[in-house]
């Protein structure tokens, strides 16, 4: 059985539906990330788990104990640890007092509070800083205080609400790995909210992509990137070419022929062949890095198109070519040393194994 179970969760703010009857399960010891653009309901979902928002409908069960269905367990009674987006480190308390705040409420003997507090300070790399005030710490250090405070009571569940979004880019990358290894070591079941897909990829066991209050896809990072469930997910995670067209004919081995907007036939894979009825409007999609280019016409029979380089964009370690194929613009990622210039013609090979049909 899952460690956290969310069923049929529904929450509105005034008239706006923030979370629309979603269903989620978090396995014990897993890091699950809620990923999506702002306003997709990811933070609201997390806050419902914490008890900071009261859902209108649904069930939330943590470790077999119902937190919300008919009754409502106060956040102070849920035994969770939470890291807030802005850290919420209390500025009027010293670092140590911040960290052991929850322990003191539990009326744990002074001696063990002291020990546990120092232990956690050590764990997050703030040993010896307990007597400082938060305003004497850098952003990154405050972040560690927030983390230490969330960990000090050995919570069953750790919730992290965009914990790295206030840090600068370098520190953010470093903290991703630190948080991940820390959480792993402690074997904590965690729910992590972010809008940064790279962060989600690095940190998660599984990712929940959310779109305007609904779950768009739940999968491992690899699956989400390689087999996006729909156009929204494909668009949100990484770069993707969408070529509109309609299905002409289903093929064996989960393949289809699509007549593209630029009038040529394109062979693609399709996840569910039963949905691929001829005449259906679809998007033939392929990642920019999966397209091969040739200056001379190669041997391949299928999915070979000729186009002209309309724009060339230099991004350091690689180039983007925007190639005009009969009016459709296709983005291609190539190594930085590829010499072709704007205006030159290219042959594009879109390997049918890497083309997918999305709806």
């Amino acid at each position: 059985m899952a460690f956290i179970e969310i069923k049929n969760l529904f929450k509105r703010f005034k008239k706006v539906v923030a979370v629309n009857r979603i269903r989620l399960e978090v396995k014990e010891g897993e890091i699950l990330t809620l990923l999506g653009p702002s306003g997709c309901g990811k933070t609201t979902t997390l806050r419902c788990v914490a008890g900071l928002e009261r859902p209108e409908e649904g069930d939330i069960v943590i470790d077999g104990k119902p937190m919300f269905s008919q009754g409502f367990v106060q956040p102070s009674k849920r035994g969770i640890g939470m890291v807030f987006q802005n850290y919420a480190v209390w500025p009027h308390m010293k670092v140590f007092d911040n960290i052991v705040y929850g322990l003191r409420i539990q009326r744990i003997p002074r001696q063990s509070v002291q020990e546990r507090g120092e232990q956690v300070l050590e764990l997050v790399g703030l040993a010896g800083m307990g007597e400082r005030y938060p305003n004497q710490l850098s952003g990154g250090q405050q972040q560690r205080v927030a983390l230490a405070r969330a960990l000090v009571r050995n919570p069953k569940v750790l919730l992290l609400d965009e914990p790295l979004s206030n840090l600068d880019a370098k520190l953010r990358e470093k903290m991703r790995f630190e948080i991940k290894s820390l959480v792993r070591r402690m074997g904590l079941t965690s729910v992590y909210v972010t809008h940064d897909q790279a962060e989600a990829m690095v940190i998660s066991d599984r990712i929940v992509v959310m779109d305007s209050g609904n779950v768009a896809q739940i999968d491992t990072p690899q699956e989400i990137y390689q087999k996006p469930a729909n156009r929204f997910v494909a668009d949100f995670i990484g770069a993707m070419n969408f070529i509109s067209g309609e299905i002409v004919q289903a093929l064996p081995n989960e393949g289809v022929y699509v007549r593209t907007e630029f009038g040529e036939r394109m062979q693609c894979k399709v996840a569910d062949i039963t949905e691929a009825a001829p005449g259906k409007k679809v998007y033939a999609s392929i990642r920019p890095e999966d397209i091969e280019i040739f200056t001379e016409r190669p041997q391949a029979k299928e999915n070979l198109f000729k186009g002209t380089i309309a724009h060339k964009a230099y991004l350091g370690n690689f180039l983007y070519f925007f190639v005009n194929v009969n009016g459709a613009m296709i983005r291609i990622q190539v190594p930085h040393y590829v010499p072709q210039e704007e205006g030159q013609e290219l042959y594009l090979y879109l390997n049918p194994e890497k083309c997918t049909v999305l709806f």
Partner: protein, 558 residues
């Protein structure tokens, strides 16, 4: 740094030098003068602090300050919490009523409560008629009444500063405490309240200083042993008795020193403790809760209770204003417009003077405040922080110090005191910070790029100010203007020292009618008239925007 700015700064400094620094230094100098020999020395201070009576007066004032602060805090904390956090119907109306005392003259409240709670006042008479008591209870005369009246008058300061604190706390600070397992009360005690201390303190210091300023309320309640009251009596009534005069001046200087030091200390502490959250998108209204049925009921009853006390002021004054011979009766029986006939027909000069002096003071205020706000917010002109500092300091100066220093300074060498212009000038000096603060905070909210865009388009500084800044500032400035006018209109602490025959204003008229002829009816009707005028002005403000909360406190909460 442009020449124009420097010129402007010089001009403003000259005004400050003439109207603030010069008279206040004369006051301090005078306190070191030895009356008998004409020399200089510490004698006056030694006498003051060796005299058991003056020491007692000093102690009384401190005790009163502590009691007033405690009382207003005790009543203010729940009120501020309700206003800031609970979603309740009709909250705006309650807020407006509860905050009314901030704009009503302090003496209006004192009069009303003396009539209502006095020995043979309405409440005692009603209780005796009902047979609940045999002899009247002393509700109001004495320390307890003084604390009650002053605490109620200052309650809005506590409520406004605390509720600004409650609203501005980043919600996640409290959520973090909840997640960590803190119950409601523990969270309030360990997180919410401590985080409010800086904004609480900003209001608390103003409250604490009030008993060092208000000389009239103790007199109305028949007490004189407080620093401002004794200073007033010594200086105004015993001007020829050199000893008493100098003791009065020392009392004024001592009060000022206490006020200024406390004010500066609290400011330093607040600066050091600025708790700002990191949240990017905190909501404007902060954390608002839908209270449960029981909490709702208690919240409403509490607001209702405070509102009733506040509303007593205009109600009782109204009853007194439209009646005569209201004695030994719970309610007046003889109704008449006589009081108003007296005010409007026999002494119309009082109303005329009030409007004239406040209006002229207001013109000074605008002419000074707008350029000052501009210099302080928008330029890097040298000495602008000092300018800001001196002006803000006027918030803490007891009005009595301004009055006495003007009396001493503008008599012989610069004989301004022989012309009525001294009245608006003193009002202007005393209420300087009010207008400036409002202009200041509106200026801070005005995005500088709007002005820069105008300059890039080719407009000069002055044209930019007139075409862009002024229209955008207008709302804030207008609220500042009306607030300034209300404050100037009810001013008595300063004016009482400077007025001469023919320069009486409404507040002075109230005092004289009460004091000389015990003409309570006329005094009460004048007070009622002032309440009405104030109320109309307030209505204008809240129509224009922001409501009374913002009007009285300025955007941003400080």
């Amino acid at each position: 740094m442009s020449r124009g700015n420097l010129f402007l700064a010089t001009l403003l400094w000259l005004v400050i030098a003439l109207l603030v620094i010069y008279p206040l230094s004369i006051l301090v100098l005078e306190s070191f003068k030895i009356a008998k020999t004409g020399g200089w020395g510490l004698n006056n201070y030694l006498e003051f602090f060796q005299d058991a009576y003056y020491l007692k007066t000093f102690g009384n004032t401190l005790v009163l300050s502590v009691l007033v602060l405690l009382t207003s805090t005790l009543f203010g904390v729940p009120l501020a919490y309700i206003l800031a956090r609970y979603r309740l119907r009709g909250k705006t109306v309650f807020t407006a009523l509860i905050l009314l005392p901030i704009v009503l003259p302090a003496y209006a409240g004192a009069f009303a409560f003396v009539i209502f709670f006095g020995k043979y006042g309405t409440l005692n008479l009603l209780l005796m008629e009902a047979g609940l008591i045999q002899t009247p209870i002393n509700f109001i005369f004495g320390l307890h009444g003084l604390v009650f009246i002053q605490a109620l008058h200052m309650l809005p300061f506590i409520v406004l500063s605390l509720s600004a604190g409650f609203t501005n706390i980043d919600p996640s600070f409290e959520e973090a405490a909840e997640v960590e397992g803190a119950g409601d009360f523990w969270r309030f005690l360990t997180v919410t309240l401590p985080l409010c201390t800086p904004s609480y303190l900003a209001g608390a210091v103003i409250v604490f200083l009030w008993p060092f300023t208000d000389w009239l309320t103790p007199l109305i309640l028949g007490k004189v042993d407080y620093l401002p009251s004794i200073a007033y009596i010594n200086i105004a009534y015993h001007f020829t008795d050199m000893h008493r005069k100098y003791m009065g001046i020392v009392a004024v200087v001592v009060s000022s020193v206490v006020c200024i030091s406390l004010f500066l200390l609290s400011r330093r502490w607040v600066e050091k403790k600025k708790y700002t959250g990191l949240s990017k998108g905190t909501t404007l209204e902060g954390r608002v809760i839908d209270p449960g049925a029981l909490m709702k009921l208690s919240a409403y009853s509490y607001m209702f209770f405070i509102t009733i006390i506040v509303v007593l002021i205009p109600a009782v004054l109204g009853l007194a204003a439209f009646s005569r011979r209201w004695v030994f009766e719970p309610f007046p029986t003889y109704w008449t417009l006589d009081n108003f006939r007296m005010i409007f027909l026999e002494t119309p000069a009082l109303i005329y003077n009030s409007f004239l002096f406040s209006g002229v003071a207001l013109l000074f205020g605008i002419a000074f405040g707008l350029p000052a706000a501009y210099l302080i917010v928008r330029t890097q002109v040298r000495g602008k922080d000092a300018l800001d500092f001196v002006i803000t300091l006027m918030l803490a100066f007891p009005g009595i110090a301004v009055g006495v220093s003007y009396l001493l300074a503008f008599w012989k060498d610069i004989p301004l005191a022989t012309h009525w212009i001294i009245m608006p000038l003193s009002l202007f000096a005393r209420r300087l910070p009010y207008f400036l603060r409002m202009a200041h905070s509106s200026y801070l909210q005005l995005d500088i790029s709007l002005e820069e865009a105008s300059e890039v388009s080719g407009a000069g500084k002055l044209r930019t100010f007139i075409n862009i800044s002024l229209p955008l500032l207008l709302k804030g400035v207008f609220i500042g203007v009306v607030m300034f006018f209300i404050m100037a209109f009810q001013e008595i602490t300063t004016a009482i020292f400077l007025y001469r025959g023919g320069w009486e204003t409404l507040p002075i008229g109230i005092y004289l009618n009460w004091h000389r002829g015990m003409e309570f009816g006329i005094a009460a009707s004048m007070a009622f008239l002032m309440v009405v005028i104030t109320f109309i002005l307030l209505l204008i403000i809240s129509k224009i925007g922001g409501g009374i909360l913002k009007a009285a406190w300025g955007p941003g909460g400080r």
